[in-house]
């Protein structure tokens, strides 16, 4: 068996030192000065966005374990760190839960009693159960992430095949558990912002964006690390190409899901369902909706179709960053119209939240990255993964 390539460690960049992380968090929290309303609305968007990346990482790692892919081994550690950031996202859930009365109409007993539908839903949509569910989701996801990560790190030491087997055994039921918890998390955190509205596809919609986001994140990270002199010759243009294919595929899959939801609601034209899209077509929200149609589908669809584009790191980087921005716009579009009818507004607290909480997410990722090898050094499939080529 060939040994893994060397030079696969990086030092922690300055922005990933504990002090810097604390500073990021402080910037995030400073959004409070713009008022708790702005703060919680912005926080929920960033929270749902960052959660989607970590959840995407979790499912990415589990699916690749179960189907036994080779190409993905070289990016597995990067995905694992993003997956482990779920613990940070869990901490971020605490302020979200503090904003529950601001974010969720159903949390106000006086609103619920005057509303037959909300009264009916109260056994599900109530504060203790909601917080309990969110806690439960994070416990489950963290447990899965930690169990998988632990085996992966142990494998760095002993290179045992037993760890591969264990990771497969955790991942197979893990995927089933994930499917349900992720779906209900999407219902709870995002769909219940507009508590009268419902859509059975909503969990898959959130998944589609999340899987797109993880592949885009991995593409950005590998291209960045290579520019810093790491991973050269390990994560090659062949892996870029595969990540690019996944980004392209999930641009299309997201569109398929988004279109299915839109088309069926538009066609049946039932007021209690169409209201959701009506709100997203009012005033300047129309431009956000159109931005998603073009920015989340039409432009990347044509831009990323050709082989050349996916194998050109500059183009792929631009495409991946673009998709992450569009994914943020998508999450924004899911949540915010409920709070500002008729006018899409990016507020000051959005800036502080993205820079602060998003920055802390990135910093934590690099902090973790510096502590471990950049690739699973002793995975028996590593050499094959490095040598992987598209045909």
């Amino acid at each position: 068996m060939r040994t893994a390539p060397v030079g696969l460690r990086i030092g922690a960049p300055a922005f990933a030192k504990p002090g810097a992380i604390a500073a990021f968090i402080a910037v995030g929290c400073s959004g409070m000065i713009f008022g708790s309303g702005q703060f919680f609305e912005s926080l929920l968007v960033v929270f749902a966005f960052l959660a989607s990346i970590s959840l995407g990482a979790l499912i990415f790692v589990m699916i690749n374990h179960v189907v036994g892919t080779t190409w993905s081994i070289v990016v597995r550690r990067l995905a694992e760190h993003l997956m482990m950031n779920i613990v940070y996202v869990a901490v971020l859930a605490v302020p979200v839960m503090c904003g529950i009365h601001h974010l969720y109409d159903w949390s106000h007993p006086e609103l619920v009693t005057g509303d037959a539908v909300l009264t009916f839903k109260a056994p599900y949509l109530n504060v203790p159960f909601f917080i309990g569910r969110t806690a439960f989701y994070f416990i489950v996801w963290s447990a899965l992430a930690i169990a998988l990560f632990r085996h992966s790190i142990k494998q760095d030491g002993d290179g045992s095949i037993g760890h591969v087997e264990s990771m497969v055994k955790i991942s197979a039921p893990g995927i089933a558990i994930y499917a349900l918890t992720q779906t209900f998390a999407a219902f709870d955190w995002i769909m219940s912002v507009e508590p009268h509205w419902y859509s059975t596809i909503f969990g898959i919609y959130y998944f589609a964006g999340s899987f797109l986001a993880i592949n885009a994140s991995l593409a950005v990270i590998v291209i960045y690390l290579r520019s810093r002199g790491s991973l050269n010759g390990t994560v090659t243009v062949e892996h870029d190409h595969d990540l690019g294919k996944y980004i392209f595929a999930f641009v299309v899959f997201w569109t398929y899901i988004a279109f299915s939801q839109y088309m069926l609601i538009w066609y049946a034209n039932i007021p209690e369902e169409t209201v959701w899209f009506r709100v997203r077509w009012d005033g300047s929200w129309k431009w956000v909706s159109l931005a998603l149609v073009f920015g989340h589908f039409v432009i990347p669809f044509f831009a990323l179709m050709s082989r050349y584009m996916k194998r050109n790191p500059r183009v792929l980087l631009a495409g991946a960053v673009w998709m992450l921005v569009m994914h943020y716009v998508d999450v924004f579009w899911l949540i915010r119209p409920a709070f500002s009818h008729g006018a899409a507004r990016l507020v000051a607290a959005d800036m502080t939240s993205v820079i602060g909480f998003g920055g802390a997410y990135v910093a934590l990722f690099f902090h973790r990255l510096a502590r471990y090898p950049l690739v699973p050094e002793k995975d028996p499939r590593l050499a094959a993964s490095v040598a992987f080529e598209n045909h």
Partner: protein, 461 residues
């Protein structure tokens, strides 16, 4: 009964080889072509006789329908869509495994597909034929069935372009065309092998014509591989689109139980599930009959069982989400429809569906079941039954109690309905048996590509 093939060393990182035994390029061609060249076995004649008889039943039922009218079916108001639509969706669903295996698994570099893609694609084409039959005979005056197509005419009469039923015509039509092309293009190298080995003039001419002058030159292979990749890329969205459009037939309506946004991906997952169920049903006995254990190995069968487990669980996920949202919606009609499904007059259909689609496939979590031929075969039949009942539940239970209690009714199929369904299996198996007899059932040229000898370093890396 266990699997007879040898058990090579395998572990979590080195999967079992895709071809067992001491096969080389020559023996693969021999083994595959022999099936078409042997004297026709007696068992084939018996099976073909049975299939032809059933096909005769289908023809008789359709003739009777044309002569007597739609009244011979059990349709009533409000259940105006009965067996015909259930069977249509059932067969279209089965047609999905072929393209999934040939296109999506190809793009995902799942090389194990090479041993099973040919018959899965054949199954796809034949299942589309069965599916296409039903809307055609359901239109009432079936001699006017061509009105389904937007054909310019002197009456300036057009189908309704806003109707999902018309989109179906396009979706299924495109799917059938691309599936046939994919199947045929992939077959060219193998047809030419049969041509080169042909002993009789008739075989030489026929296989010669159908192999389109394939000589296996480097240039041919180059063009062929490009064409195959492009066809795979074109066919991939079709896997999703066909059954999504079929689901639109229901979901664009305002009927509780039909109108729900999860329908498109849920239908696609169900279609792949049922398609793999049927592939397994056909492949397990054929593999033994034609002694193909070297090519369709334990690993192939296990993989198919895993796909059935995964897609069956996705279908279960959809049932659960539908049920939850029916409650969560706070809409009494939604809620009633689902309670009625599980506990109303058709409760038995609902629970057959849940048992066969969600519960029994969970047995595939166990390696023992995934490697037991009899066990997996029985479970695959369950999948076929469960998926037929799923469509029955969707079509019939959603319609039979609509918004007006005064118009509620119960639907029972007539003997004509039953025999038409049975007859459609006759059509399917007649075509399938002809395929087994005259076309190489394994993509020999592709299987050669996964032999260790085909690797640049001869498999010694």
């Amino acid at each position: 009964m266990g699997l007879t093939a040898g058990h090579p060393v395998e572990d979590a990182v080195t999967p079992a080889p895709l071809v067992l035994g001491s096969n080389d390029f020559g023996s693969v061609t021999d083994r595959v072509c022999e099936i078409n060249e042997w004297k026709t076995p007696r068992a084939w004649y018996v099976a073909f006789g049975i299939a032809l008889t059933l096909l005769g039943v289908l023809l008789a039922m359709v003739s009777y329908l044309v002569l007597a009218g739609l009244g011979v079916w059990g349709l009533n108001m409000p259940i105006a869509w009965g067996f015909a639509i259930v069977n249509f969706v059932f067969w279209v669903g089965i047609a999905h495994a072929g393209t999934l295996i040939s296109a999506i698994l190809f793009l995902f570099r799942q090389h194990w597909r090479t041993s099973i893609n040919r018959w899965a694609e054949a199954m796809t084409v034949f299942a589309v034929c069965c599916a296409g039959l039903f809307p055609g005979i359901h239109v009432g005056r079936m001699w006017l069935a061509y009105w389904l197509f937007p054909i310019p005419n002197q009456m300036k009469m057009w189908p309704n372009f806003r109707s999902p039923l018309l989109w179906d015509v396009f979706a299924v039509g495109t799917y059938a065309t691309v599936s046939v092309m994919f199947w045929y293009v992939g077959m060219l190298p193998d047809l030419s092998s049969l041509r080169d080995r042909a002993k009789t003039k008739m075989r030489k001419i026929l296989y010669g014509v159908f192999s389109l002058g394939w000589r296996g030159s480097a240039r041919h292979w180059h063009v062929y591989e490009r064409a195959y990749l492009i066809l795979a890329a074109l066919a991939t969205p079709l896997v999703l689109s066909v059954h999504s459009v079929v689901s639109f037939d229901f979901a664009t309506s305002v009927i509780p139980g039909w109108h729900t946004t999860i329908f498109p991906p849920y239908f696609v997952a169900g279609a792949i599930f049922s398609g793999f169920g049927m592939v397994l049903t056909l492949i397990v006995p054929s593999r033994t009959m034609f002694k193909l254990e070297d090519f369709v190995t334990k690993r192939h069968l296990e993989n198919m069982c895993k796909i059935i487990l995964a897609t069956g669980s996705m279908v279960g996920y959809a049932y659960l989400v539908e049920f939850f949202i029916a409650w969560y919606s706070g809409n009494m009609y939604e809620r009633y429809t689902f309670i009625n499904r599980a506990m109303g007059p058709y409760w038995w259909a609902y629970w057959i569906m849940v048992t066969c689609n969600v519960i029994t496939p969970q047995l595939f979590w166990f390696k023992k079941v995934r490697t037991n031929l009899v066990g997996m075969w029985i479970l695959s039949i369950f999948v076929n039954i469960g998926m037929w009942f799923e469509r029955f539940v969707i079509v019939v239970t959603s319609l039979h109690r609509d918004y007006l209690p005064g118009s509620w009714d119960y639907y029972s199929p007539t003997w004509v309905d039953m025999m038409t369904l049975v007859g459609s299996f006759g059509l399917f198996f007649t075509l399938f048996l002809l395929f087994i007899r005259f076309i190489p059932i394994i993509a020999a040229s592709e299987v050669k590509g996964v032999l260790p000898q085909a690797k640049p370093h001869g498999g010694h890396e």
